[in-house]
């Protein structure tokens, strides 16, 4: 068994270098396909993160009557938080609202006109972050003044949120479809290239069959060779990605910073995807290609 594995590995290694041009062509194809796939994967992940980010921004703001007591507000806040579609409820008091207003003015470099006011004209509010943006209609309905007397009014965001949700859903589906298409194209091209490499060795396979080599002895060297092509392609693609990652992330640093995207996780997932796909495609391609010669 060990002798068989050693034999197969040695033959795979020899086979790879004996047909160096063919093997390198297969590897180069593998690298390009994996880069394409990884690129789309990163884009898709970034897109999904952006969509999550946009959806997180969906919140319902309910302005409260000035005469609402602290216990009434507490009560409403607790009831809202108990709903599963609500992620978080933040109570902004009138003082906090004024502070925030002043901070915004200052950040924008505008003069703070509120100091000319005798009293705070702002209303206290409840900012309700939604776990599920699709529930906005329901939450908004439940907060109408005739349902909750302490609510003064609710800013109507339903139309806007509907539009955002439609767009994000389309983008999610389209991204997945594109990723799948790219994956299938990569599969065909790589399998075909490995097939050519095996075809170049058809005579060798024929001789092996004629001298009575068992299927395993014919198949496994090629499968290992395919795995080599896949692994080499994956490692090359990862090195290229790693080299590109630094300038890319500097370029997109601001973009990534606001996104709920873990760069380490993305790098790990991409590495796993590239390695797994490369190895899988190499093995599959070789297996399928040799099969043609074994079925008789």
């Amino acid at each position: 068994m060990i002798a068989f594995v050693v034999f197969s590995l040695r033959r795979a290694w020899q086979g790879f270098w004996r047909n160096a041009l063919m093997s390198l062509a297969a590897t180069a194809t593998m690298v390009l396909m994996l880069l394409l796939l990884a690129g789309f994967w990163i884009l898709q992940t970034g897109l999904l993160a952006s969509l999550d980010f946009v959806e997180q921004k969906v919140e319902v703001v309910a302005y409260l009557q000035p005469n609402a007591t602290a216990s009434q507000v507490e009560d409403l806040s607790n009831r809202l938080e108990a709903r599963p579609e609500v992620a978080d409820v933040v109570h902004i008091t009138r003082d906090q609202a004024l502070e925030r207003f002043r901070a915004t003015m200052e950040a924008q470099g505008r003069e703070d006109l509120s100091r000319f006011l005798d009293a705070n004209p702002l209303y206290a509010s409840l900012e309700i972050k939604l776990a599920d943006p699709a529930a906005i209609d329901e939450i908004q309905g439940a907060l109408q003044p005739d349902e909750e007397p302490i609510v003064r009014n609710v800013i109507d965001q339903v139309a806007l949120v509907d539009r955002v949700l439609t767009i994000t859903n389309i983008l999610r589906t389209a991204g997945l479809v594109v990723l799948l298409i790219v994956g299938v194209i990569a599969l065909f091209i790589v399998v075909n290239t490995i097939r050519l490499a095996v075809l170049a060795r058809a005579e060798e396979i024929e001789i092996m069959r004629l001298v009575g080599a068992s299927d395993a002895f014919i198949r496994w060297p090629f499968v290992f060779e395919g795995a080599m092509v896949g692994l080499l392609g994956a490692i090359t693609a990862l090195l290229a990605l790693a080299a590109a990652a630094d300038p890319m992330s500097r370029f997109m640093a601001d973009f990534f910073r606001i996104l709920p995207l873990q760069f380490g996780t993305l790098a790990r997932d991409t590495a796993l995807l590239v390695l797994g796909t490369g190895l899988g495609l190499g093995v599959l391609g070789a297996w399928v290609s040799v099969r043609t010669y074994l079925i008789r």
């Binding site: 005579e203 001789i207 001298v211 009575g212 080599a213 002895f217």
Partner: protein, 273 residues
Amino acid sequence: MLRPSGRFSVPASSRPVTLAPPHTPSRSLRDRLTRRPAGAETERAVVVLHDVTKRYPNGKIALRDVDLVVPEGDFVFLVGPSGAGKSTLIKLLIRDEVATHGDVLVDGHDLARLPRRAVPRVRRKIGIVFQDFKLLPTKTVWENVAFALEVTGTPGRLVRPAVDRVLALVGLTAQAQQVPSQLSGGEQQRTAIARALVHDPRLIIADEPTGNLDPLISWEIIQLLLRINELGVTILMATHDADVVTALRKRVVALEEGRVIRDELGAAYHRED
């Protein structure tokens, strides 16, 4: 008539050194008792074809009702025009194709009922030699012969003595480290014969082994096959070489349009009536 007389003696370098007896008597006797079908006629036969018909998927019938028994140690010429069915018969024997009808037995194995997994083991009992040699161009003579053992899982320590032995037998010890392109046609064919022999086969099938060689070199190859035959290996040789067939007066099986039209001992290439 051309005869393989002293004029065509085998070169000294290719004289046989030693060849271990292919089968110890006790083993082969037991094998014959347990594996061969009963019947005096087929008792010692290496090849048995009974009522064999081969129809290809395109409808072409390559062999019709062929009966052929080749006893152990026989030397048989398979002759006939192109398309007569010689190649199909050889493909059936190495189970590259399966008969549409009838039985094909090689060394007692019914090839039609042989599970796919068992095919390689039967092929190792058959050495095959082709007109175009089928050598690997990037490997040396030694490696080409060793290849047949390596790909069948022969332990490394057994490879070297076996390869050295058959190379000595075919007279290529001196050329062991050369690649096929450095060899003459005759030397390439002797390499192929060495490769066919390295498994100690019971049967050597040679498909036009002299087709690409000039007459003098052809005789050299024939002499080598005769010598291997003398060592007890059954030989089935398909050929168009009328001179060789007629000169040797061996058994001749003639095919035409898929049928055996002649099966004679000590015969010539053409019918002599």
